[in-house]
Amino acid sequence: MSEQFSRRDFLKLAGLGAATTAILTGCGPASRYVKREPYMQMPEYNYNGQSTYYATTCRECAAGCGLIVRTMQGRAIKTEGNANHPLNLGKTCARGQATLHGLYNPDRVTDPIKAGSPTPMGWDTAIQVVADALKNNNPEEIAFLMGMTPDHLFDLVSDLADATGMNAPIRFGALGMFESRVTLSKAAENLFGVAGLPFFDVGGAQVVFSFGANFLETWLSPVSYTRGFAGLREGVTKQRGKLVQFEARMSATGGKADEWIPLRPGTEALVVLAIGRLAAELKGGSMPRAFSGVDVLDAASRSGVKLETLEHLATMFANSTGALAIPGGAALGQSNGLAVAEAVLALNALVDNFGRPGGLYLSALAPNETDDHRPASAKEMQEFVQKMTDGKFKVLFVHGVNPFFELPNSLGFRSASKNVPLLISFSTFPDETAREANYIFPDHHGLESWGYQRVATGADQPVLSGAQPVVSPFYNTRATADVLIAAAQLAGGKFSQALPFKDEVEFLQGKAASLMNEANGSFSAPDILTFMAYFQQHGGWWKTSEGRGIPDAAGVLNRNLSGDAAEFAGEGEFFFVPFVSPTLAEAGANKPWLQELPDPTTTVMWNTWLEMNPKTARDLHIENDDVVRVVSAAGAVELPVYLYPAIRPDTVAMPFGQGHTAYGRYAEGRGINPNDLLGQHFNEAGDLAFAGMKVSIEKTGRKQHLSRLESMIGVYGEGMGEEH
């Protein structure tokens, strides 16, 4: 830590008067400006017995919710939502609540370490390693693989790459893969001419048709969409809205739906177009070309949705004054996913809900954002892995993502990484990628970090969510941005010119400076230091004006839309539908309270299960907790069965979130990773067709008891036998 300034000197340098000094009381601990003190001698901004609260941003996923963290005597003891933050308005999900289990995790990486070395390195040595890596290789041989948070680090690395000829950083996250994020953006680009994430105003709608979008659990911005759902149900000025969920396996979103339509996987596009055709007929006028090519009877037959049901749904959609259709999740994670997305977006064009309350918008671009910073698709990751295999990268830096766990095994990242001479991980935790890395130079935890995160979707206005350290760093970790800045300056030449900053905070000030004079901001400031003080206090900066775009509907209904069914990989008899565990996802498994939370639909805790329809299980003589072997074209796994009444008989499902082989004591060696079953199978947009595998099921004869919250009768095994 820099000890160049005490806090009082910082105040003097800021030249602040008494009025604004009061504002700065919300800005500590500025960890690089304040020495860390023992608990017996508390820092000056704390009082014994009183709590201090700091605004920051959640990094448990990429949504960018604002947090207020309560600290006491320099320790963080509770996170709450930031009530002033436009995205979450004071609310949090379970992962945001449990983020302290990451901050105080007993398995954190505490020091920079070299693989195979028993003693930690010093940071000077670590920075030298990075500097040598930058200096001693051709820029095109240096690659950065980054996660979806934080955005300021992505910007720093992008600036470095632009200036030096390094490869532009690649961003990836399993959550984005299972959301089919690239497909959504591509569909919007194809239909509206603008790439970007659509936003679906669920709260203002009257009827919502969701095709696979698991928006109450993990999809894009679950806290924001849950608020929308509450508005749908509880509208003060309108009657109770209705939700219809189309999916082969009932999600928690499907559980809340008024109607659940278990259509055959792969036929989503057909069903959408059939509903569109029937709705268009009801609306009168000429039949749009988009829906003219579909045979409704054929769609009913192939999808398993009865004709009467299709007619009922079309009537509901056509007659509503606030109809909205949402594409997402497993419906897009198939070989025809882009076609499904386009068809569902076109359904919105049919009812002309663009830019209206209860309708479809384009998400507001965040402040200082010029492009849609979408993650890499799985196909782009495949190309990236191919370059690794071909030896094109001599150095690979990994931050904020765990590709050994998050990427499907079949993409071959594991073997490709052997062809990269130098793998450097900045992971805070000893995850699978860190375990394979040559070096781990641990970043601070998100609650110890500066930075910002753009809000990609879910808020009405452009939001740049800010992060500040709420506690001094607990271990000998260092901000990755600081490591890169120091290494670049040590490397000299164009690297030094690319990052001419003293530290991360100075870099942030440079990025924030362009917002100082922006009109309609949530606050303004005469100079950068005052701006940064407000930025920390408020938890970010946002426009007070509406920023969502209105899609251009011209020509959407005149397009030829494809209703072709999806193709499936593998010869098994069951459709395989992986879904993201809403409490664990890609990074929650090392937090014990997230492990202990029951799954919303099955109530299973601490492990993985395979969901199977009870009728199917009866036919196969499989019972609850029987361990079965699931075989796909890409691999095989063994895991216990949960008899799930809300899944198609021809389908099995499995959560993503467990199956770690590293990542600390709570995560390691627990459960199964569905990525082991996923093949190199993509949709038209390059997203992984993760719901496009067919698997076969074999009995193993073994049993493994799942921990469930439900049905405790008989748990003690006395007097009440289980029914069979």
């Binding site: 003891i77 609310k91 928690a252 029951p598 921990s707």
Partner: protein
């Protein structure tokens, strides 16, 4: 000199200031079962995680559980509305008279069922008597490896082996707000604070506040048509009102 009459009026006023009836309204129609309230409660109230085996054996320490049941058979299968279940803070609580150590007592001031941890000897009669099954027992001293204890809330006792525990309606937050209001010479305002579960709930399905204040939001919500209280026929006088929606 104050008359005896004035003194009595003053006494009554002080007593009134301390009392209050806290309640909760839960809208099951918008509860999505996301477990945010369970996690928030665990982080606020220093709940122990018990691990896979004990959790499967029914020994998890959740103060809130979200119940959902299945109705019908595929394809007409339906999930019943999610039902967050926590201590109902009964006005006539079955757990209270059975405790031989007087650890489960009724708070006249807050109209809550208290749990005096240092009196509890772990007979588990209270759990046996609770019709809502919201009491959990510390079967072990559950481990919190360093540095996890840093995250413990100093406002809440850390329980250990042999002690019963349950939802307290975040009584530490109630007391904090009451202390603050008293210091400023005013009543606790409606919406000034809320429980950890209500604060986190992304759907705003949980509303907490003074039930005996007719102007409070929770009081007005509770009076809406269609609300109900669980197992009210047992005469427990629960303080949590549930709305199921359509």
């Amino acid at each position: 000199m104050a008359t005896l009459s004035d003194l009595k009026i003053s006494e009554v006023k002080l007593s009134t200031e301390e009392s209050g009836k806290w309640g909760m309204v839960i809208d099951q129609d918008i509860c999505t079962g996301c477990q945010a309230c369970v996690a928030a409660c665990a982080m606020e109230n220093n709940l122990s995680f018990v691990g896979e085996e004990d959790a499967g054996y029914g020994r998890s320490m959740h103060w809130i559980r979200i119940e959902r049941f299945w109705e019908g058979e595929y394809p007409e299968v339906k999930m019943t509305p999610n039902q967050p279940m926590m201590c109902q803070q009964c006005g006539s609580a079955p757990c209270e008279p059975v405790c031989p150590a007087f650890a489960t007592v009724h708070s006249q001031a807050e109209q809550l069922n208290l749990q005096v941890y240092n009196r509890c000897v772990g007979t588990r009669y209270c759990a046996n008597n609770c019709p809502y099954q919201v009491r959990s027992f510390n079967w072990r001293d559950y481990e919190r490896p360093e540095p996890l204890p840093n995250q413990l809330n100093p406002d809440v006792t850390v329980r250990r082996r042999g002690i019963m525990e349950k939802c307290t309606f975040c009584i530490q937050r109630i007391h904090h707000a009451q202390d603050q209001a008293k210091a400023e010479g005013r009543e606790v305002m409606d919406g000034e604070f809320t429980t950890a579960c209500a604060q986190a709930c992304p759907a705003n399905a949980i509303t907490f506040g003074r039930m005996d204040d007719p102007k409070s939001l929770v009081s007005q919500l509770a009076k809406r048509q269609g609300g109900g209280k669980h197992l009210e026929e047992l005469g427990t006088l629960p303080n949590v009102t549930y709305f199921k929606g359509e």
